[in-house]
Symmetry: C2
Subunit: 478 residues, 2 copies
């Protein structure tokens, strides 16, 4: 009874088993002798990442032993000490802490919001936005007005006075890259309160920055911009379920009054640190390639995909160099940047130090787009180096790295930008990222071990090629 | 304090927002006028899938309302009725059931296995393999011998007599495509009992087919092959945690006796059905393009990624044709195949019916590799049609479909193979698939809505192109 299917199964199984072995030599035959050496080294980097990688265990420690780690928090301080220790344990040539001043915003008590419809209380799942002020102690109760954009709010102008303004433009789900959908909506979260505050609104609620319809609110940063402090108003994100429901109720009823209370607070800036370690270059110790992510996170979840994965992948790059006994010509430096989420204090401190140092930065890679399956890299460099990096596609495509294109790098390394520096953003698959981003669901269990490890190996392979070839043929020297 | 970072953020956000809009026209300028029409239609298919797709809700019904649905089970019968109803609700031109005889294996009571080390009882998480016989009612207690391959077992030969043989070769984690790792191990599960039974072993335990180290056993099919029924022995899969622990204990102690009991049973074959529906072709109604997955699953989980996702994606292809008002030249037929897991009874019945029918099958796509983010297609066709499909890469790459290569199609459609038929396997990312495959963890919550929908749109786009261009220039006509 099972024979026809199982003969078939055996056949498929054989095919699958042979596929990888068959494809490698075929691909290799199109490579030069030099490229074959590189292909073998890259294969070795991937093998090591997938069998002796440490990133997954590091991530477990950072996310489940320490947890969420907002700039200025005790958990962020613990993460600094943890980072210093794991870098030392990894046997780097040198490890140090670099001071940086960072914001210290605290959430306070759990936020509360609700409204009454047909005599029934409807609770709103919400979270204060980072940097927002509190409501008065007794909370705010005001009529809600829904808008879909900053422009719409600006047009309403004085009509916003005394209201709670509800920004409810959803992600454009037709965009394939979810970062584009985020980019098309996040102005509501960042600038909503400044816009509505200017016209005397009482507060701003904003739909969470995600496509996923669930009851988890997603926090994130906001700014009051240039408006006077007297116009500052409290702002919070509400879950997509709450946003959809509130919008329906607003269509059904003429007026809805929402009660909203939060007790967050901006404390004075505080001292924190970037954690830095390196393998010193054998030929050009003064030339530096940086690989990094950010050590801080939001507080609702454990900062797993944002950006625990970037942290452990960055350290794994150096660990893979050591495990494979690759001695880089240039210095390979890992930076755990502090405070990407709330102000970039760590990025500023690092960039400032670079300016006064005799070191020459030749390139940098940032991993801050989640720990999902690798897709490629975006390159922010001069045209020659952009083309050079693109020319490595044939070496990287066997690992699913097809999207190697011009584009941005990342918030922490972009202050290093100059004509001679090659900046790169690591780009994993984006589909799941905003399901968890800045929400309570961004936890260790959402990270797949192999996807994480493939990312480390992808970054290490690019750093290996950059270390070997960058500027060897370029007219622009750093 | 937040301005530098936030100016930067605004910049990144703008970049991200502009990226997609900027890239589309640039890519389009390299396309012919005809290709621009196709690109627009494909974009429209993706837009519709991501905003009006029904696959996610269908999957919720199939996996959480019905659940796991083994061949011959009451749940499989429910799934047939459900399938017929959703096809009718989707407004297909015709919907029918095609009878197929399928195995009827039942699991019986929850399996038990344990052993004693230093006076402490160690429980083994295990699951009977599909098709296996039961142990005697009182169970089996016997000394365990560990092997890493069928070859090693064959060499030990008579030394296996009276033993429980433990096949413990793990996945090769260095293989990038996890299906290759599966292909390199699954002979232990399929043929382990036949090999050990031949030499008088009492039972076979096999390490679960996954890279993930956890305590969930993964079931799957096995066969006794040509050995006489008197040599049939019971076989079960144990969790990877149990396998690692047992292996360590076997190294520490000379002898370990395992107790093992299961009460599964092979009942007589029973009648079930493929569920079939179609949109009739406007020009060549007798020429058929099939799109399908399998309706049956294993019983431990809810059959979400294997193969609930393939089922709902296949129906969504036809739904996307209707929503976009695309009238295919050829007949587009969706087949929910019954019994892929335990014998291919549905695939046999379908292939047999094709042979005696006047219809001409020109192509088929199968989705049976999970519902993860799209990567590409493997093509099993004559060289002309293989090249034709590869030439569509520029239309498909914007959606992450880069891996369009020669390869196998799928167990349910491969009986349709002939020189003139173009068979295709849909290939999503493979990294997470074997975390859940055949285990209790293969549930609805493991499926990401956008990944599922992108898969439907990928398949629909390929069917759209196949319907339009297949055989228009090929020397081999079906």
């Amino acid at each position: 009874m099972k024979t026809p299917k199982l003969l078939l199964l055996s056949f498929i199984v054989l095919l699958a088993a042979c596929k990888e072995n068959k494809e490698t030599p075929k691909a290799n035959s199109a490579l030069s002798e030099n490229e074959k050496v590189d292909a073998a080294n890259i294969k070795s980097i991937f093998n090591t990442a997938l069998t002796q990688g440490k990133s997954y265990e590091w991530l477990r420690e950072l996310t489940t032993d320490i947890g969420g780690r907002m700039s200025g928090s005790p958990e962020a301080a613990k993460a600094v000490l943890w980072g210093e220790q794991v870098m030392k344990d990894a046997g780097l040539d040198s490890v140090w802490l670099q001071p940086a001043m960072v914001p210290h915003w605290i959430r306070g008590e759990k936020e509360v919001a609700n409204y009454i419809v047909d005599g029934k209380k409807i609770d709103i799942a919400l979270t204060a936005l980072g940097g927002s002020i509190a409501t008065p102690k007794e909370g705010i109760t005001a009529e809600v007005i829904e808008v879909k954009s900053i422009e719409e709010a600006e047009k309403l102008g004085e009509k916003l006075r005394g209201k709670i303004v509800f920004f409810n433009r959803p992600f454009d789900d037709t965009l394939i890259n979810t970062f584009s959908a985020y980019g098309g909506c996040v102005d509501q979260r960042v600038n909503g309160a400044a816009t509505a505050g200017k016209y005397g609104a009482k507060a701003v609620l904003v739909r969470s920055m995600t496509s996923k319809i669930d009851d988890y609110p997603h926090t994130g940063t906001m700014r009051y911009g240039d408006i006077p402090e007297s116009q500052y108003i409290p702002t919070a994100a509400i879950s997509t379920i709450a946003a959809e429901r509130l919008s329906i109720h607003l269509k059904e009823q003429t007026k809805i009054k929402v009660y909203f209370k939060q007790s967050c607070k901006n404390l004075p800036k505080t001292k924190s640190f970037n954690v830095i370690g390196q393998i010193t270059g054998t030929e050009n110790p003064e030339k530096v390639l940086v690989v990094g992510g950010h050590l801080d996170s939001w507080d609702l979840g454990d900062g797993a995909h944002d950006d625990g994965t970037g942290i452990v992948q960055s350290l794994e790059v150096l660990h893979l160099f050591k495990t494979n006994n690759i001695k880089p010509k240039n210095t390979i430096r890992v930076v755990f940047f502090m405070d990407e989420e709330q102000g970039g204090g760590g990025a500023d401190a690092y960039a400032k130090a670079v300016k006064t140092s005799k070191e020459i930065h030749i390139g940098a890679i940032e991993s801050d787009a989640g720990g999902h399956t690798p897709r490629g890299f975006t390159i922010d460099a001069n045209p020659e180096n952009t083309e050079l990096l693109k020319s490595w596609k044939k070496l990287l495509a066997p690992y699913g790295l097809h999207d190697i294109t011009k584009g941005g790098s990342g918030a922490d390394i972009s202050p290093l930008k100059s004509e001679a520096v090659t900046l790169v953003g690591y780009r994993p698959d984006s589909q799941r990222y905003f399901d968890y981003h800045h929400a309570a669901t961004d936890t260790f269990d959402k990270v797949n071990k192999r996807e994480l490890e493939l990312g480390s190996a992808s970054m290490a392979s690019l750093i290996y090629l950059m270390d070997k070839y960058l500027y060897s043929n370029s007219p622009i020297k750093p």
